[in-house]
Symmetry: C2
Subunit: 458 residues, 2 copies
Amino acid sequence: MKIILLSGGSGKRLWPLSNETRSKQFLPLLPSPDGGMESMVQRVLRQINESPLAGTSITIATNVSQKDIIINQLGEGVKVVTEPCRRDTFPAIALSCSNLYLEQKCGRNETVIVMPCDPYTEAGYFNTISKMAGAIEDDAASLVLMGITPSYPSEKFGYVVPAASGTIAVEKEIIKVGRFTEKPSVEVAVKLLAEKALWNGGVFAFKLGYMLDIIEKFIHLDGMDFNFVHSHYTSFPKISFDYQVAEKESNVAMVPFTGFWKDLGTWNTLTEEIPSHAIGNSHLGESNDNTHVINELSIPVFVDGMKDTIVAASPNGILVCSKEKSEGIKSKVENLSDRPMYEERRWGTYKVIDSVQYPDGFKALTKTITLTAGKNISYQIHHHRSEVWTFINGEGLLVLDGNVTKVTRGDVINIRKEQYHSVKAVTDLTFIEVQTGDQLIEEDIERFPYDWDSVSVK
Amino acid sequence: MKIILLSGGSGKRLWPLSNETRSKQFLPLLPSPDGGMESMVQRVLRQINESPLAGTSITIATNVSQKDIIINQLGEGVKVVTEPCRRDTFPAIALSCSNLYLEQKCGRNETVIVMPCDPYTEAGYFNTISKMAGAIEDDAASLVLMGITPSYPSEKFGYVVPAASGTIAVEKEIIKVGRFTEKPSVEVAVKLLAEKALWNGGVFAFKLGYMLDIIEKFIHLDGMDFNFVHSHYTSFPKISFDYQVAEKESNVAMVPFTGFWKDLGTWNTLTEEIPSHAIGNSHLGESNDNTHVINELSIPVFVDGMKDTIVAASPNGILVCSKEKSEGIKSKVENLSDRPMYEERRWGTYKVIDSVQYPDGFKALTKTITLTAGKNISYQIHHHRSEVWTFINGEGLLVLDGNVTKVTRGDVINIRKEQYHSVKAVTDLTFIEVQTGDQLIEEDIERFPYDWDSVSVK
């Protein structure tokens, strides 16, 4: 059995903490068993490894912009398949299935589970997934999905209606699916509940061969390698898996899950699950009620006299909103910041602490950058900016135009446009970077090979 | 006639915009006639110059920590007398009167007006001050003060009760004062209003000689120079002018002011006078009611669903508070930040954009500094910190260990501990400063003379 974990989303609904590269599943806001905090994706991986699914090989299907943060949060051990561009769930699943077949050499008879990376749920959810895998292994249907018992007639979800013929296997809780209804009105949803319809949880099980046959309609796989599929990614139609596969399939079943399950997509729903009302340098007065303050800035936040309010601060901005109105912030904050001001990368993290643009186009941007011990940034040049690095903590090795030196606290390095440079952290290494130039974008970077293993310090 | 303007206060009641050196009278939040914004002290100076008092010589009595921001906001033309340490209004007024006598060579017969720098009031207030000066010139009383018509039985103000004998001069509105009552309970205040008591507005008029006689009880003035008084400042008792002078004086009168007057001491009262509900990079959603957002950070603030709320953000911190609760924030935010993160200086402004302290005591602090064209910082060394300057706008002259060079955009200067340095702005000059060391306090500065007039650039 193989698990494909879908990690997508651009995430302005949890602005300012979420941004273009750090969507909601990466925010470290949920309580973890060790008393600390974990992100949604860290929580799901932990839960899988505490369930009957423990040890199953996991492939994460994601966009290229999220690859670094996945590695930063989950480690180098996970398999990551990156879409070359954002499309939809059908192409993302097709790409990962191609990878299972062509690169991971799985057979057509392999059972595949596809699931989202951000359900907020309990152990029973993963037991239900085991049952779904069992149904596929028993050939109970071509496609098996998870039906979630609705808690109210929501307009936000897709509904799966049982077939009139009913249950396939009572003791195994496998129900034949009759039809699908996407995001109905409340009136229709009430009727659907009377028909015992369940929410479509976005969890699917099938044999790899089943999906390969569908992929073959768009890209011929036999004799090809995975890079070929990757480079022809746009041959897959931009459509959801539900529309392209599930709703066209007549032989489809579902296994119900009746336990706790919640979509933590807005500040309103997310804060219900955050036990601490003051995270970061946050200070609450005595007269607050149902108010959450989450502060990722270094300056203090003081809040008093607030009711049902979310206050969230990050290098991308500051949100002060009633929890009710927080459901609709996405469109309003879309254009407030034009770049991520905090990112987790393969090598560590950075945050932008200030930026300014002058009328003639000249720009300055100041970052705090921390490299994890043992990691390095690529050997690179910039065509449009200079950088000044002031090292403030830890020890590292710097390469500047081929020359290697040790760097530590108080060292200052002036890196001019077109100068080749890299740095590797010996211990966790922090420096302040002041960028100046006419274009200060992450994309202004040209990378070159560098053999860190052969480094000797002069 | 001479005016002494009292500028004091440490100003945590308008946190985070006010701090140790930028108290409430310096916040540029009031609408000015040119459509821009002005501070309370700028407003009062403008109003004086639009009144019958126009052209009167003004001496500002203040603490040494406010001298730079006064010059920055009012220009080099104003006379500033700085207390060597914070005491109270009696010593501050005594010091300024000593300065009028010993340094500005005023005669004992000079009429002196003492007034606060932060009343929010209208033109009639300054006409009343003219009447007070007239009463002193007519010898109507030894001390004349302004009585403000109470708008409600407040517990916050001092009250001045007319004498039973009543009016001294009806046509000139001069009323004999019977007694004073400081900050009464509401019940007592109601009775005081029935007795036609007025609020004590903290505006006083007297002959300079009257005050000199009182000063002589503590410091002998004749034959001394002003520096002698300044260096013996602690000989004056730490007490208010009301207690030390007004309440001991039997021959005291008041002139009533019946116009608009307000104490803008809290966010609640101040925001009532701020017409714009979104100042700085602030964005309001559609569902706010009586909510003010003032943002001095560069990152955006988005606010929605709020009612009767103040949101204020500055490099010192972020406040989110119901206007009602904002009256009591002073004690709660007292210890949230340990240094001013924004300051206006004689030479320009700086803001702290990030600071960090490591467990072993090593610190890093990053500032954006802007020097006004023509100004320079002093020639100085630091004993505990190094500084890296990256120039991002404007042109200047740098002195480093005696060597003068031109500096402009993109230049990077590494200033080590104990290195002599100064910089002068040719045009407005902005640079990013990264400080590192074991003590990063404004006080770690040793100043040396430097003759900028003789500079020739190599």
